[in-house]
Symmetry: C2
Subunit: 324 residues, 2 copies
């Protein structure tokens, strides 16, 4: 059963015609797209409005996805199912009631933290990690109740473990790699990966150079051996792709991601810029290259199909209902 | 030199005519008034607009205070100088630039946290306290630069100590008592009081029953002996009053303070209500009773005048300029 959808669990592309062409060429059926890195409710709604216009402008190419059935609908019609998510709970402000509001507006993934402290927990960049806060525990329960998937990418270790333990539903790290393979706090420890695996959660392995051993020079073989190593320790079923591709975004976007409005960058900071993608994964066109690499590393056809999207489809069905 | 202003460093009164009569009767010259417990920037601005209307409605009774000179101006004209503050940095949202905006709008005090985790640090009610966050350090520096006084009431221990150490200006705990006198996390440790004293900071002792040893039954003598104990350990100059009076507010205000919109109260929670004030401090009319109690405990006339407002006037002059 290799006829499973191809899914990327994290992109922040610019969604131009050229980028949509790349996604089509790479065979993507569904993508989790980031609408917000910083900012409050109203700013999140403005980003959502831009997505409404985008869906209206590309009725033959994009589908506003709310359940797993939208993945099948997109495949059947040659479109891409787009699940919307936010990388920062700042869009909730200090208002628990906004969880259900965002669910009704179509948001399907929400990170507990971005790099810094949020009202819910600690990001990986903080010197210390409070774990889930009082409000964090309320929000996890409300996300479970309403059906927004918890994304622990960018979270600190303790916050991630707290959230996995507190959540009644499986949770995801949509875009990160094992920290013992590429030692950066943005990647995740084996303890977190194990906790995800034990609870039906998912890890989306990332193609962002800062998360890769060797950075932009990481080889396809090294990347696929990392995936095989995780699979050997924790099973193949928890694995998917979360490319973290930011195609078409200017370097100023890196500045926004890092600093938002909460920090004044030091004047001696080097200008923020996107790193070069590895030669074997420049854009969504290269998803078949990863599938081939995984097969060459020894994964079966069924396993490759799972990692390339089948496992995410299962997770999405569990979270949001529908048959992928 | 007992002719010094009488200042209350924290009230959340309803500012009705009756409450203003009480303040006048109690001889208050200046008050730090809370405009926000929860909510974002826009909500804080709405609260500020209500204050603009209040100042316009009571030109002969209230003065919108921005510097210490406004205390003298209020005394000379029989008015009350009102310094505005917020008990939650939620009004900054995730935007460092809003510090200067709030400064220009007239905000003069801002708490680093309320009871729960904020983007800047940990409130006393969190299970753990990771101290000032990355954004917290940025905001402390920006408050120092622009001239908003840092208020550490409601902060966790480590966050309070971090902020005192990080701030280039003296900081305040506007309304709390020593924790070793009344053991609740809302009160402050002797280590925090010592750090305040060593840096020119202030402690406003609170008359809110939950902060008093014995609660509503606390005696005036016990309260004044507590003040004398702090003075004996850390000097009289750091002491002032921060009554935390909420005159005229309905019990629903307690619910809002505690839960805001971030928490769904447990159904078995008892209805939130304001505790009864001690018999000797029912309202602002009773400030002379406290002055008399302090004198009876052995403070000199000069020391009493300092505690009843002179010390706050000095702090306010250091923070905001002007001659009180």
């Amino acid at each position: 059963m290799t006829d499973r959808p191809r899914i990327d669990a994290l992109q922040y592309a610019d969604w131009s015609e050229a980028v949509l062409d790349e996604m089509r060429a790479g065979g993507l059926d569904a993508v989790h797209a980031t609408i917000a890195y910083h900012g409050g409710f109203r700013e999140g709604v403005l980003a959502l409005e831009a997505w409404h216009r985008r869906f209206a402008d590309h009725p033959g190419r994009l589908l506003f996805a709310r359940t797993a059935a939208d993945i099948a609908a997109a495949r059947d019609s040659g479109r891409i199912a787009v699940f919307l998510g936010a990388q920062n709970p700042s869009i909730l402000e200090d208002d628990l009631g906004l969880v259900e509001v965002w669910r009704d507006l179509g948001l399907r993934f929400l990170q507990i933290t971005y790099n810094a402290q949020s009202l819910l927990g600690s990001g990986h960049a903080e010197a210390d990690d409070t774990g889930l806060t009082l409000m964090g525990r309320e929000v996890v329960a409300e996300m479970n109740r309403t059906g927004i998937a918890i994304d622990l990418s960018h979270a600190g270790e303790r916050t991630a473990l707290d959230a996995i333990a507190a959540s009644a539903r499986p949770v995801a790290v949509t875009h990160a790699n094992p920290r013992d393979w590429c030692p950066t706090d943005r990647n995740v420890s084996d303890a977190v990966i194990a906790a995800l695996a034990e609870t039906g959660g998912m890890l989306g392995v990332s193609l962002y150079p800062h998360h890769l051993a060797g950075g932009s020079d990481c080889t396809l073989d090294a990347f696929c051996r990392m995936v095989a190593d995780v699979a050997g320790r924790h099973g193949t079923e928890m694995l998917g792709i979360g490319s973290d591709l930011c195609r078409g975004r200017p370097d100023e976007a890196v500045h926004w991601m890092r600093h938002g409005r909460w920090r004044r960058p030091a004047t001696h900071d080097p200008p923020a810029r996107f790193p070069d993608q590895p030669a074997w994964f420049r854009s969504s066109r290269d998803f078949p290259t990863i599938a081939a690499g995984l097969a060459a590393t020894g994964f079966s056809g069924d396993e490759v199909a799972g990692i390339m999207g089948g496992n995410w489809a299962r997770f999405i069905a569990v979270q949001f209902g529908g048959k992928p």
